[in-house]
């Protein structure tokens, strides 16, 4: 952006005397309501939506075909071999669970940290969390081999009078991911109820009124309700914060409690959590950029929001890079030959190609976000998000496969290759993910309207009066509120 005077307000400028405005374009409560709810209620569904939906539901069909084929034939249809008993199924599981973490981080952790910019993107990110966890949940379910006894995962009384082994991290995973999916869904739905009530009150079709009316639970914006609602929101945020940190920690225990070199490390929990947030933010960005473009949300999801996300990607990407370096250092410093071999093998062995894709995408490219020009350039950041998505999938591939394929016994070493079924199943999971995202965009409010309204300067009940500094809602004092967002 050059220095010429334009009528567009640039809210990415860092001026410490003036807080950036979060919502642009001179919006008030009415325009926010219209912009978001008209996407669902008034706008004609674009043709591109139908085309995309046909394509993604076709891919979803392939997913279920592949699962059916797997169930009929057995896990031999996958590329698993003797040392590599965990292939793409576990890689995809960890990948998808990780994606979900950004949603919870935005909805819970940024809420506790009073990051007001989260309100524009939290609904979308939470939806993405739930869809990603659905995709993740499929893989452990189908890779158990004997799917007809998959209920053994749960403490359900059965004819053998046998209970699951609670001392196994695989069972911890069942509880961690199950709790995570449930709490995310509750949080998402609770956050959406006031907006569903808005849709109910604006809907003109009978079916829309009925469906949104039932889903809105009779919400009528009573402040006596808001009072308890905000308390419940705070409590859920407080509960979801340690939960999200625990989920990927428990996922990492699946690896870390094994004896295998390259897996048996104490760095795994924080390293996995940082990686999960990193990949999740990249996925939120991948979806948000087209969504804000196509649905006219550029004034609500501004470049400032995207820039903040890029800063988090830079921070978590650097943590991931630091973790890679620490792993190597400890492998050497421990003096353990098996451990040293595992890491040299990772970087220079048969899977070196995957390792260097991972390093390039996760460690090298995110460092470009140090430059503000790149951090605020929509096209470049979108390409970077794609890189991160690829890199983080490869990270899980490298961890899972490189350690397994060359374990303690050289005579059993083998190279793992996925089959077509592996590839189609993974592509199918993308189909399912995007199908759910498309349905969400079409039928539910994409932006948390009620929450966005609270961070607008006009939401401040004491506007025009002297007010205390550092107040939570509406931190922009009246004397600097001269931008286009300054009321009606």
């Amino acid at each position: 952006m050059n220095a010429s005077v334009t009528d567009t307000y640039d809210n990415t400028v860092d001026d410490p005397t003036r807080p950036q405005e979060l919502i642009l374009g001179g919006q008030d409560f009415t325009t926010i309501t219209e912009t978001v709810s008209d996407i669902v209620l008034e706008r004609k569904t674009p043709l591109a939506w139908y085309v995309a939906f046909m394509f993604t539901s076709g891919l979803t069909g392939i997913l279920f075909l592949m699962i059916g084929y797997l169930f009929i034939t057995g896990v031999g249809v996958w590329g698993l071999n003797n040392p590599v008993g965990w292939g793409w199924a576990i890689v995809n599981f960890v990948f998808w669970v990780g994606i979900g973490h950004a949603g919870t981080l935005i909805s819970a952790i940024l809420f506790l940290l009073r990051q007001k910019w989260r309100t524009s993107i939290n609904r979308f990110a939470e939806a993405m969390t739930i869809f990603a966890v659905i995709c993740a949940g499929i893989f452990p379910g189908i890779h158990v081999g004997r799917v007809w006894v998959v209920y053994w995962l749960f403490p359900i009384p059965n004819y053998q009078a046998m209970w699951p082994n609670f001392r196994s991290p695989l069972l911890w995973d069942v509880f961690a991911v199950g709790t995570y999916a449930t709490v995310s869904l509750l949080f998402w739905y609770m956050g959406m109820v006031p907006d569903l009530a808005t849709l109910r009150d604006r809907a003109r079709g009978r079916i829309q009124q009925l469906v949104y009316g039932v889903l809105a639970l009779g919400w009528r914006g009573s402040h006596r309700h808001w009072h308890r609602y905000e308390k419940a929101y705070l409590l859920l945020a407080g509960l979801a914060t340690p939960l999200v940190l625990s989920v990927h920690s428990v996922v990492s225990f699946d690896f870390a409690t094994a004896q295998l070199p390259g897996w048996h490390t104490t760095i795994f929990p924080p390293y996995f959590v940082a990686g999960a947030v990193f990949s999740g933010f990249a996925m939120v960005g991948t979806l948000l950029i087209p969504a804000r473009q196509w649905f006219g949300l550029k004034n609500i999801i501004t470049v400032h929001h995207l820039e903040n996300m890029n800063k988090i990607i830079l921070a978590t990407g650097s943590m991931v890079g630091f973790a890679y370096a620490t792993e190597f250092f400890i492998a050497w410093y421990s003096g353990n030959p098996n451990e040293s071999f595992a890491f040299v093998n990772r970087a220079f062995g048969p899977y070196a190609w995957a390792y260097w894709i991972m390093v390039t995408c996760n460690v090298v490219t995110p460092q470009l976000f140090w430059f503000k020009k790149i951090r605020t350039n929509i096209a470049i950041m979108w390409v970077m998000y794609i890189f991160v998505n690829i890199g983080m999938w490869f990270e899980r591939f490298v961890i899972t496969v490189s350690s397994l394929s060359r374990d303690f016994l050289p005579s059993s070493w083998a190279y793992y290759k996925p089959t077509l079924v592996d590839i189609l199943t993974f592509m199918g999971s993308w189909g399912l993910f995007f199908t759910l995202v498309l349905l969400f965009i079409r039928f539910l409010p994409m932006v948390a309207m009620a929450e966005v309204k609270t961070v607008m300067p006009i939401a401040d009940a004491h506007s025009g009066e002297r007010r205390s500094v550092g107040d939570y809602h509406g931190d922009i004092p009246a004397h600097v509120r001269k931008g286009p967002g300054g009321g009606k």
């Binding site: 709490v183 308890r228 419940a232 939401a459």
Partner: protein
């Protein structure tokens, strides 16, 4: 909404405001006038409204605490009884019941039950879901979830008087004062 209310009894009177700051001043006056059966309806939680209305804290955190303790006890009992009592088996040399290996599930179920308690507890305390409410019969009130701010004083309030309360609401300076009946007229 016509003035005559042959259909159903009077529910209350509502008045509408355009902005949170106009609303806030009016709310303080209603509180100071000593009404008890009244409410404010806003599209988003207006900051500072708790004090302006004189709402005290909620017991929700205690419900959540009970939920969390239930989850924690259930997880502990379940793991102990299932792995150490009902079907004991030794695996990887781990004790049948030991805190470290059982902590993750204790934590997860604590969070799960606390989350259920805060979600369902909040709706129960709020007396929701409730798909019919007299206020829904008022067309103007539909903007309470969009861009308008309402004060409603219920007819069952001991201080309520059809004329005097109406005059009081008019004096607050809102857009309009309207009557809401218990059931729809159409």
């Amino acid at each position: 909404m016509s003035a005559d209310n042959k259909q159903g009894a009077l529910y209350g009177l509502l008045t509408e405001f355009e902005s949170p700051s106009l609303l806030m001043k009016a709310v303080e006056k209603v509180r100071d006038a000593g009404y008890s059966k009244w409410d404010v309806h806003t599209p988003f939680p207006v900051h500072g409204m708790d004090d302006a209305m004189g709402i005290r804290g909620t017991q929700l955190p205690f419900i959540v605490l009970v939920g969390g303790l239930t989850g924690l006890s259930l997880a502990t009992l379940m793991q102990w009884w299932m792995n150490a009592v009902d079907y004991p088996f030794v695996i990887s040399g781990k004790p049948l019941f030991g805190i470290p290996a059982n902590v993750p599930i204790m934590f997860e179920l604590t969070v799960l039950f606390s989350a259920f308690a805060s979600f369902f507890g909040m709706w129960i305390l709020n007396n929701l879901p409730k798909w019919y409410h007299p206020l829904f019969t008022n067309r103007r009130f539909r903007r309470a979830t969009q861009d308008r701010f309402f004060i409603v004083i219920e007819a069952c309030d001991p201080k309520f008087h059809p004329e005097r309360t109406r005059e009081f609401l008019v004096s607050l300076g809102g857009n309009v004062v309207e009557q809401v009946n218990e059931s729809a007229e159409d």
